[in-house]
Symmetry: C2
Subunit: 181 residues, 2 copies
DNA sequence: TGTACATCAGTGAACGCGCGTTCACTGATGTAC
DNA sequence: TGTACATCAGTGAACGCGCGTTCACTGATGTAC
């Protein structure tokens, strides 16, 4: 079993995320990654079977970090509007602090190597919000949850271009979701 | 001034849209396009200065077609919930009928060559919905309009995977947007 | 009508380039006895 | 403690390949006189 915490492996992923802040995933070459990580090209293939596996690992790392932040922001909260608000806020704020957000949000879906992983992540985020939406009176909650994930990703992209939170868009999202009758 | 309706040029774009139904834009090579269009490689460069310009034209063609359908579905309608419903429905139904939707929805944003054009398209769609949302009582309407575009694109992607309209998601969208007191 | 020239879409071989991947090798560290 | 061997991360030159782009050329059509 390969050691997924190996420092060189981590350095390669760090380099990948740094590069993912300034160009699309498709435009990140193995040459770029090893140059940034200060290792030889062959070292890349010691830690990853191929470029596609690297992209999958890159996405997993990004997504795990985001999920950890959301969990930290919502533990102990009962399902409902407030918990959902905290989840979304943690997601959006996390996107400002993490490396690699740009490519992950904008180009991950179009990258064949990780399209499936991205779809699974979105499912996971959506599923996590179902109880909150149900408690808020949304029936059925599942389709709404998918729409919420899409809206949150859109806001994250807008904020990324802006370089700062977009209060108006966040407010618009929460107003749309406001509990009914 | 080049003739943008030249039949060979159109054949190249047709080939591009056909290919865009089965792979991402980044994975469509000039070789692929000329092979599908049954022309020599040099012919490609008679009609497009480079590959990036081809992608821009591809996106423009797709987007123009979609806009034409929306316009046809809404002419004469006064701003409001019904007109917005018709716009969104025309957009979603159009995505089932047009070629190249898959790549356009999933990978256009991550393609550096056309990221800007995609952003402009989204702006345009959003702006078109502002009057409707204002008439429906959404204040301010602009941020909501951006979220609506994101939700519509998400539904289009889900329906594309499914191969059929997703009534539950469409209903969820319209319920979220329902006019407020 | 016939001749000369201009225009321009189309051709396809050829180009250099950067890519992902491979592989024989190095050297440090750990283990056995 | 010393020797022999195993393990494995790391190296970097080399590979073949497919890419986007170029360019000298062809041939059909239009225009001038």
């Amino acid at each position: 079993m390969p050691d997924v915490t190996h420092p060189t492996r981590a350095a390669l992923l760090d380099a990948g995320l740094t590069l993912a802040d300034e160009r699309s995933l498709g435009a990140i070459s193995v040459d770029d990654v090893v140059r940034h990580a200060h290792v030889a090209k062959g070292t890349f293939y010691v830690h990853f079977p191929d470029r596609a596996a690297f992209l999958v690992a890159l996405h997993a790392r990004f997504h795990d970090e985001l999920r950890a932040r959301i969990r930290a922001a919502t533990t102990g909260q009962p399902p409902g509007a407030e918990r959902l608000r905290r989840s979304i806020t943690a997601y959006l704020d996390g996107c400002h602090e993490l490396a690699g957000v740009k490519a992950m949000l904008a180009s991950a879906r179009g990258e064949p190597a990780i399209a499936q992983a991205v779809a699974a992540s979105n499912d996971r985020f959506a599923t996590a919000g179902v109880d909150d939406l149900a408690a808020m009176g949304h029936r059925p909650p599942a389709p709404v949850a998918r729409l919420v994930v899409a809206m949150a990703a859109e806001i994250a992209l807008v904020e990324l271009e802006r370089g700062a939170p977009d209060r108006a868009m966040r407010r618009a999202l929460f107003q749309l979701l406001a509990p009914r009758g």
